[in-house]
């Protein structure tokens, strides 16, 4: 190879690096492995992972074990999608740009809004971006945030706002639902936006209309973070006054994968398009009048507007967005309704079975596909005991809120069968009996 490029020795290629900066001796690495040895080693490492295929999972709290139809893997695994890096030049990437345009259209339609962007990193940063957008729109320096939002996403919001001069006013979470009166008491003429999550971290369905009214009264924008699967049954936030809708799209065609990659989505009305962060794909015509797609409104973005841009994001989650788009097309409107109905029905069945065995609801409020139950024993030990039987019973709320005591957040998706739910209830009862003795 050196001969082919006309170089006498490898060291000649390092001419520009001063000799005193060059590595002397060898790198401290293990010897190279053959393909067979490498594969064996990696398989051993991977074998230490628990997979939702072999373990029974009732975990929720932001990432859910939903069914992923094979068509999603089939289409997103095409090398043109899977391995392309930043494929946005319109001259060579019409296919990719079209899929993103369709993803945007699907998200806008699903959330009942007018426009969407090409996706954000995840549900947490999506909330942060919506808050920055509200601030860019009305210049106000305070935000009122529901304490019932997923605490990991609240932490992301705090990180984003740390140096911004924006003050966050948070409501309590103890009731399991956001109290519209508590929101109203915190909203002032300085409030840029009010943010809720619906359903919230505890699986509870919020009183969107009342909270929207509290925001509107002082001219604040209303931001709602949603579970997209819930929109198969629940009214989209556009119907109860949302100005910006965001959410986590992992549940639309992606595996849990230990918490990532995720998919943030954001949608709003056309009047806010110039403050919408991230990439946007638009439809236009080429020189010959043929319909085509390209990135558009790039003067919003930070590579042009610099410090005046709404956000510094200059990327998206194209592959995961593609999976979501394929999944939504595969489901269709009726499929979405069916999916949401199955999640709700199975969650209700599970909650009733658990209540029968003495595990009461922590928050007596309407829920969608997850709910918190009170355990009469240490929730971490109970969860560990069930994990010993390859059952992931739920998320101990005490990990986030010690005041929640021994409550467990249990999530039930369409994948769970009656037998699996009965098994959870029986094993929980056994484990608790074992602990309480």
């Amino acid at each position: 190879m050196l001969r082919a490029i006309g170089v006498a020795a490898f060291e000649d290629l390092l001419q520009d690096i001063p000799p005193e900066l060059r590595l002397r001796g060898k790198l401290k690495l293990a010897p190279p492995l053959s393909e067979l040895e490498a594969r064996r080693h990696l398989e051993a490492l991977a074998g230490r992972n628990a997979s939702a295929n072999q373990w029974l999972s009732f975990l929720g709290g932001g990432a859910y074990d939903h069914f992923v139809p094979s068509i999603v893997d089939e289409i997103s695994s095409r090398a043109e999608f899977y391995t392309a890096y930043t494929p946005y030049q319109p001259e060579v990437s019409q296919g990719t740009l079209q899929t993103i345009y369709e993803y945007q259209s699907l998200i806008a339609r699903l959330t009942g809004m007018e426009i969407s962007n090409a996706s954000l990193y995840d549900g947490g940063t999506a909330i942060a971006e919506a808050v920055l957008m509200a601030n860019a729109t009305n210049g106000r320096k305070e935000v009122v945030v529901s304490g019932c939002i997923n605490p990991m996403r609240l932490a992301v919001l705090d990180t984003y706002l740390e140096a911004s001069g924006i003050t966050v006013r948070r409501t309590g979470w103890k009731g399991g639902a956001t109290d519209p009166d508590e929101i109203a008491a915190l909203v002032t003429g300085k409030t840029s936006c009010v943010v809720i999550e619906n359903p919230n971290f505890f699986g509870v369905v919020e009183e969107g209309c009342a909270i929207a009214a509290a925001a509107r009264e002082k001219g604040a924008l209303f931001v709602v973070s949603v579970d997209p699967v819930s929109l198969g049954l629940l009214a989209p936030p556009s119907e109860y006054g949302a100005d910006i809708v965001v959410g986590e799209g992992q549940a639309l065609g992606s595996y849990v994968s230990f918490g990532g990659p995720c998919l943030g989505f954001i949608s709003t009305r056309k009047e806010h398009i110039r403050r919408l962060p991230g990439r946007i794909v638009g439809k236009t015509v080429d020189k010959q009048g043929r319909p085509c797609f390209c990135l558009t409104l790039q003067t919003r973005e930070q590579h042009i507007r610099r410090e005046k841009a709404t956000s510094n994001i200059c990327s998206n989650q194209a592959l995961v967005a593609l999976r979501a788009a394929v999944h939504l097309c595969w489901l269709g409107k009726e499929g979405m309704r069916d999916l949401a109905t199955q999640c709700l029905s199975k969650a209700v069945y599970a909650q009733k079975e658990l209540a029968r065995r003495g595990f009461d609801l922590h928050f007596n409020k309407p829920y969608f596909k997850e709910f918190a139950i009170k355990l009469p024993a240490d929730s971490e030990r109970v969860a560990a005991s069930l994990a010993g039987e390859r059952i992931l019973a739920g998320v101990p709320l005490g990990r986030f809120y010690p005041e929640a005591g021994n409550s467990l957040l249990v999530s039930v998706t369409e994948k769970r069968t009656k037998a699996e739910i009965d098994r959870l209830a029986d094993c929980l009862a056994d484990a608790v009996r074992g602990e309480v003795v």
């Binding site: 110039r274 790039q298 003067t299 042009i304 507007r305 005046k308």
Partner: protein
């Protein structure tokens, strides 16, 4: 094209003073440099603008430029036609492309602006 009856800033804004109201826009040179103008962001009436501080932005396809105020005072008029027709800035930068009207607070600052002759020199007209 540089108009004689106006005053100019080195950032390519023009100002026409009538009594104590100043009408402000960007020059022919500026609109030529920008190319197609797609959007203008202007302040609302009542906003206070300051001498040589940014009062808005003008957006071309691939660039965004700040607009600098040649005067200090309160915005008393905004050209609302520019929302639907930003191209007026291109076709008539000194006429239909006017951007804001400001009630002057510090008339003495006008002395700091460039005359038409000085501006002509700047843009090599």
């Amino acid at each position: 094209m540089v108009q004689d009856d106006l005053m100019y800033t080195k950032e390519h804004e023009w100002v026409k003073v009538e009594g104590d109201v100043a009408t402000i826009g960007i020059t022919d040179f500026a609109q030529q440099q920008l190319g197609d103008i797609v959007y203008v962001e202007l302040p609302s009436p009542g906003t206070r603008v300051e001498f040589m501080k940014a009062f808005g932005t003008v957006e071309a396809v691939k660039a965004v430029s700040d607009l600098y105020s040649p005067v200090t005072g309160e915005v008393v008029g905004v050209n609302s036609d520019l929302g639907a027709d930003p191209a007026a800035i291109k076709s008539s930068p000194y006429g239909r492309g006017w951007m804001i009207k400001v009630k002057l607070e510090a008339k003495q600052e006008l002395a700091k602006l460039m005359t038409a002759a000085a501006y002509r020199q700047l843009v090599g007209d």
